[in-house]
Amino acid sequence: MLFFLVFIILAVVAVFFVVGVYNRLVRTRNEVKNAWSQIDVQLKRRHDLIPNLVETVKGYMTHERGTLEAVTRARQQAVSVSGDLTERMKAENFLSQTLRSLFAVAENYPDLKANQNFLALQEEVASTENKIGFARQYYNDAAMRLKNQVEMFPSNVLAGAFGFHPEPFFEVETAAERQAPQIKF
């Protein structure tokens, strides 16, 4: 009788434990997914800002056709590239670079720098760049949590059984990339 009771209690505890670990794995995986979509949201937002920016700047930067066209082209490419992650990231990083040079060139146009519309757009672009960076950071944190849970005992047993697997990290490629997108003012 006593043995039976102990057995029941142990079984109940085990079930609760398994459910808890499983739910935690699911929660973390959802978090990773959410974090991923947040990056997409911010990248899309940046795409949407650029036509407006180019339109505002065009009137002032009459001698910088090349810079403006490079931004427009880089945006086009970032929007159209699909599927492969590394390709997409390459396109987005290139877009960051062209934007940086656009703002660097804008330094030479005092009229432009006094334009309220331009200043507002500059703040928006800078903030969106920040958000992209923070979204990647949060994604990496979440992916790290998932990786730890998938690999560490005891949750690794359940993770293996239910097919949880680690998600890839964002790697910061070069030292220049590591320098957060600096917009020169």
């Binding site: 958000k131 923070f134 730890n148 910061v172 957060a180 600096q182 003012f185």
Partner: protein, 400 residues
């Protein structure tokens, strides 16, 4: 991160239970003190008072606090930089819905967060803060406040303040009653010495309860400030931002006006802390000494994450036990590359103008730009009239 939140929640639950027990004991003692055998009634009274206050502060504690602080809600258009920084920190901390943003028209730099949790929260900053801090520093402060939101520190604080308030009310009534009416207390002849003991015990409890409540609350409050600093460093990956913000805030000589003792613990820097007392660790303060907080943030070498903060904390305070539970550290330690400062294109003057303009707009002043380059900021009283530009004398109609 979630181990951390869980450990936090456990600690809060424990504290709330301890406070509730203290409240019930105070109620019981008050009852017994008033009349022998009325203890259970007093206990019920204490329970009712405590739950009433807790309910009020749960339901509307945040709006009460915001109103007390004189905070006004703003939109993105009112102060885009502040709004964007809040959004950035939400992205960094994984909070899905950004909190409401409030501003306080005071020159003392300070900030606080309120609300039950990430689903319903508000962040309030003063004009002085917006004017003094650059973008990196503002990020640090907002990250600290969002850490309070995410860790649900405010809910805990509201509950504990409600209960501590109930204890103070009970103890005050009790003391007054026992002091003045103690002689008239109806005691049955039989219980003589036992009744006296109960009376003495009740009196001691009445005097001690508020102090104990305060101490209980303070111990956990200081710990939470450290934790919010740690999370702030982790969200921004730039501890120096928060450190230099704290330095500016603590270094300001301007006092925050009209701040009540109940509100003080909410702020990022204790507005009641005497200027110059920054380095003195006091058991009676809700915040750790600000100089210590700055030193810990600045000695975070390498990793800008919870583990890095924990290490710095142990090094600076020379304590063996860190802040963060080991489980949370193991889970967090990775990919926390510190980042360089991002800089701020706005000068101090730009920030002052931006902030004062925001308050003019909130007061519904009309902005008229004159061809000579002057901008006239006109109060509502002049709506519909005509004003001359003070520089060039050109008349401008003020829109109604």
């Amino acid at each position: 991160m979630f181990d951390l939140i869980r450990a936090n929640r456990r600690r809060s639950a424990l504290l709330v239970v301890a406070m509730a027990a203290l409240l019930l004991a105070a109620g019981f003692a008050l009852g017994e003190g008033v009349q022998e055998g009325a203890g259970p009634l007093g206990l019920l009274g204490g329970l009712a008072l405590g739950s009433a206050l807790a309910l009020v502060s749960y339901a509307s504690g945040d709006s009460i606090l915001l109103a007390l602080a004189g905070a006004r809600r703003i939109d993105k258009a009112d102060h885009p930089v502040l709004w964007n920084v809040v959004e950035e920190m939400c992205v960094a901390s994984g909070i899905a819905s950004p909190p409401a943003v409030y501003v306080i028209d005071q020159d003392a730099p300070n900030a606080f967060a309120t609300g039950r949790g990430p689903e319903r929260a508000a962040i309030a900053v003063t004009a002085g803060l917006l004017e003094r801090l650059d973008r990196d520093e503002l990020q640090g402060v907002i990250a600290h406040e969002l850490a309070h939101v995410r860790n649900r520190d405010v809910l805990y604080l509201l509950m504990v303040v409600a209960m501590a308030g109930a204890i103070v009310i009970l103890a005050d009534t009790g003391r007054r009653f026992l002091w003045m009416g103690g002689g008239r207390r109806r005691t049955s002849e039989k219980s003589g010495s036992a009744g006296a003991i109960v009376l003495v015990f009740a009196l001691v409890l009445m005097i001690a309860a508020p102090v104990v409540a305060q101490l209980l609350y303070l111990a956990v409050s200081r710990r939470r400030e450290y934790l919010a600093d740690a999370c702030g460093a982790q969200f921004t990956r730039y501890p120096e931002g928060l450190a230099s913000a704290l330095q500016k805030i603590a270094g300001s000589q301007v006092p925050l006006k009209g701040v009540s003792r109940a509100m003080a613990p909410m702020y990022i820097h204790d507005p009641l802390a005497a200027v110059g007392s920054a380095d003195v660790a006091s058991w009676g303060s809700t915040h750790p000494p600000v100089a210590l907080r700055i030193r810990i943030l600045r000695s975070m070498a390498g990793e800008a994450d919870l583990a890095g903060y924990d290490e710095a904390f142990r090094k600076v305070t020379r304590r063996a036990v860190g802040l963060v539970p080991a489980g949370a550290l193991a889970e967090e330690r990775a990919h926390a590359v510190p980042r360089p400062a991002r800089g701020d294109p706005r000068s101090r003057l730009d920030r002052v103008r931006e902030t004062t303009d925001m308050f003019w707009r909130l007061k519904r002043y009309a902005f008229l730009s004159c061809a000579c380059g002057t901008t006239l900021k006109v109060p509502r009283a002049y709506a519909g009239q005509e004003l001359q530009c003070p520089h060039c004398g050109v008349p401008h109609p003020v829109p109604a």
